[in-house]
Amino acid sequence: MHRVKIVSFVLLGLGAAALVAEQPSLSAPVQEPGANEPGANQTTSPPPQAQPPGLPPARVAPPSAYPVRPPADPADVMRGRQIFSANCSFCHGSDARGGEGGPNLIRSQLVLDDKKGELIATVVQNGRPDKGMPKFDLTTEEISTIAAFIHSMPVGGRAATTGTVDPLVGDAKAGEAYFNGPGKCFTCHSVTGDLAGIGAKYVDVRALQGAMLSGEGRGELSEAPRKTVTVTLRTGQTVEGTLDQIDDFIVSLTDANGVYRSFPRQGDFPKVVVKDPLQPHLDMLRTLKDEDIHNLTAYLVTLK
């Protein structure tokens, strides 16, 4: 609903771990408003009116690999809930199950491994600038109450499983045909060259798919290739380099010798030509079909 600026393109963050931790046999409980009050969701069976029609009767979550925790001090949970609501809930959801950009924390592997905030504190206090998460100057004690709040919520749910969330839904053979045919991927990429073993390098299918679409390394492989720029001055002299920044008024670059240079822009002078090595990836987003995306992903996964 409300907007927050998510700086990073990839919103994996804690969520990458969450994906690994996700158990298809479990699902989030349907909660009534206010169910996050301390103690309110210690039960796995929410009030009957919360249950959507047609759903099988509630049942207790089966034993799972999720940690069983001793109940925390209710005062800590309440305090943690307040601090969470003021600082974290917009991105991670008021129930910590995912919100505007931020991933579900309840099933994050890091959160599951955390005992009293010691792992969570590292992430909170340092941020994850590469994933768009800012650092928060909260104290270790304050974060331990946040941990108490998050840990107070049940990881598993009551609802019966319907369907699957395996992101691997495509057909590898069709993906291979698309790669070498209408997709024209082969014009820039080679499955024995730059893409060799890509299916083994990405443990997460969604991350692989995201890298495939954007063309960026996403921190798991190499750095994304940088934009380059050629500036032609009034004298006819040209200056080339990797693009550092550009707007209507200034263009700046780092040249081959590692020297930073910036130039004022006024209308068409100097002439500025930016080359984005990932432009073909941007261009294909306008026409790419979901089926082709899924098939291509299935194919890349086979490149172990």
Partner: protein, 561 residues
């Protein structure tokens, strides 16, 4: 030494007397086009954000320079680095219902309206309100609310009635302050904090009605309330969903439970037609936000533009830009009311650029649909436009396990940032951001999705940020100016136009820019690092000021004098 001190005191006293003499807001001001003052969210009720001032214009804008900077210091501590001294200088005024405020990271930033009435600016961020001298940025008073928590994403500004101010807090209080002193008159509960509401919107004063919205990202229903600005008593309450099955609109829901947990907060101020007595605003998205399985139907009045009778709170008409939304695309964007020609006939119009990427023209008397047109190239979520003028959602683009590639992303082509309409060019301007995201459903049980959860969104490409100028008569794009930057760039900015033939906005690199509204050519700029609210303008002592905010700092610009 002693003499010098006396002089300072004397000067302070004069300043004080000047400030005290006429602080109240003449309600008539609210019904006039924005000129000397900025008494309400959009400058006036029309939502146009067009100022008739033209002292600063295309010819002299190159000479625009800094008049003053004022850094505001939030929190319970000192009121700020540049504050009023002398008799009666208050410390920060503290309000709230708990002993100690819940710690909130960072200061927040100014991302809403700053009121300017009788030479004094009234500015707010979450939990904080200030009065600032519009001539030099000096802080006159500072009020701090001790929060219980809640999402501290933003505060869109204050409302003013006579000598009183109103603002909302993230923990769901409406706080009224004395404009003169910053002292609290009263505070009222707007919505239930325990149901995870949070409140950000700028209250809008219309006559003796104080319109107050609230929102919830989990699954509680949205509503708009009207309070008596004198007493804070409730006058009426309009729910974003029908209240019971059988009521008009309830046929667009499968059952009462889904309808009562349908979301649709009220978080961006609207516009008002004083002749029709109708208040127009957009509601937020339905919940669960990313799955419609438990709410088959159009889900009225979520993601809708609604017209309410301001005296009764009754719905006069509605139009739904995103029927059965499944991508967090609310319709909360501020609509603009324009009296203009459409297909050769003079009409009372309402113009709206919605988060879903479609631009709408409606008759604001009846709600009759006149025009629907996409205003971004990247849209791929609709299969067409139905006979009511509504985009038809493609269910294949709902979040799925394998991922659905969708544009816009959940932030939308535009978000809360206000558009502007310039009657001199006849163009509607909006800052746009074209992004593709892949939406994955990560919750195995599709019926168990709630609020914003159960999905993962991966942004995979930004096609560009633009200022987009739309000819409302045809829906054609008159021009687009690329907000070029090396990366994703700063957040979209709100826009403002003036009779000086200028269009003000922030660009993707944090420049404050004056553009030519005819073609988008930049005419003046200065780098602030970020422009966090939409520019405002006002006239004081014969000088036109341009007011912008960057983070927790106000910047005022004027021609050299």
């Amino acid at each position: 030494m002693k003499m010098a001190r006396n002089i300072v005191l004397a000067i302070s006293f004069i300043g004080l007397a000047g400030a005290v003499s006429a602080q109240g807001l003449d309600p008539v001001l609210l019904t006039k086009p924005a000129t000397d003052s900025w008494p309400t969210y959009s400058g006036d009720y029309s939502g146009r954000r067009f100022s008739s001032l033209k002292q600063i214009n295309q010819t002299n804008v190159k000479d625009l320079g800094l008049a003053w900077v004022s850094h505001l210091a939030p929190g319970p501590g000192p009121t700020g680095p540049f504050v009023r001294h002398g008799p009666g200088n208050p410390a920060t005024i503290i309000g709230g219902e708990i002993e100690e405020a819940v710690p909130v990271r960072g200061a927040g930033h100014i991302s809403g309206a700053v009121l300017q009435v009788n030479g004094i600016l009234y500015v707010s961020i979450p939990d904080n309100a200030w009065a600032v001298d519009a001539r030099n940025g000096m802080v006159l008073w500072h009020y701090f609310w001790k929060t219980k928590g809640g999402t501290h994403i933003g505060n869109r500004g204050m409302g003013m009635y006579k000598d009183w101010l109103y603002f909302e807090t993230p923990d769901d209080y409406l706080v009224s302050l004395e404009a003169k002193t910053g002292k609290e008159r009263w505070h009222k509960v707007i919505s239930d904090f325990n149901e995870q509401y949070f409140s950000t919107i700028a209250p809008i004063v219309i006559g003796n009605h104080l319109l107050v919205g609230t929102a919830d990202d989990l699954d509680s229903p949205g509503f708009l309330q009207s309070f008596d600005p004198e007493t804070g008593d409730l006058q009426w309450k309009w729910y974003s969903e029908p209240e019971k099955m059988g009521d008009p609109g309830s046929q667009t829901w499968p059952n009462l439970d889904a309808m009562r947990h349908g979301g649709a907060g009220t978080w961006v101020p609207g516009s008002y037609d004083p002749n029709l007595h109708l208040y127009y605003f957009g509601t937020a998205n339905p919940t669960p936000a990313f799955s419609g399985v438990t709410r088959e139907g159009d889900d009225l009045y979520t993601s809708s533009i609604v017209a309410l009778n301001v005296d009764t709170g009754k719905l006069a008409w509605y139009f739904q830009p995103s029927p059965h939304d499944t991508h967090d695309w609310d319709a909360a964007q501020t609509p603009i009311i324009v009296d203009g020609e459409f297909k050769g006939k003079p009409r009372k119009l309402l113009l709206d650029a919605s988060r879903n990427g479609y631009f709408f023209v409606l008759d604001r008397v009846t709600g009759e649909h006149l025009l629907t047109v996409p205003y971004a190239d990247s849209l791929n979520w609709a299969t067409g436009i139905d006979k009511l003028g509504r985009p038809v959602r493609d269910p294949e683009k709902d979040a799925s396990p394998g991922g659905a590639l969708v544009s816009p992303d959940s932030d939308g082509i535009v978000n809360w940032q206000p558009p502007t309409y310039d009657p001199q060019t006849g163009l509607f301007y909006v800052a746009t951001d074209e992004v593709y995201s892949v939406f994955y459903r990560t919750e195995p049980n599709v019926r168990a999705l709630q609020g914003l959860n159960g999905i993962q969104e991966q942004r995979v490409g930004q096609m560009g940020k633009y200022i987009t100028a739309i000819d409302y008569k045809t829906g054609k794009i008159a021009w687009r100016h690329l907000q070029v930057s090396v990366g994703e760039g700063e957040s979209n900015t709100g826009l403002t136009t003036t009779a000086g033939k200028l269009l003000f906005g922030g660009d993707a690199n944090g420049n404050l820019v004056a553009y030519d509204p005819v073609n988008g050519k930049p005419l003046w700029h200065t780098h602030l690092g970020q422009v966090s609210n939409a520019v405002e303008t006002y006239m004081l002592d014969g000088h036109q000021y341009i007011l912008a905010a960057s983070g927790d700092t106000l910047y005022a610009f004027a021609l050299n004098f």
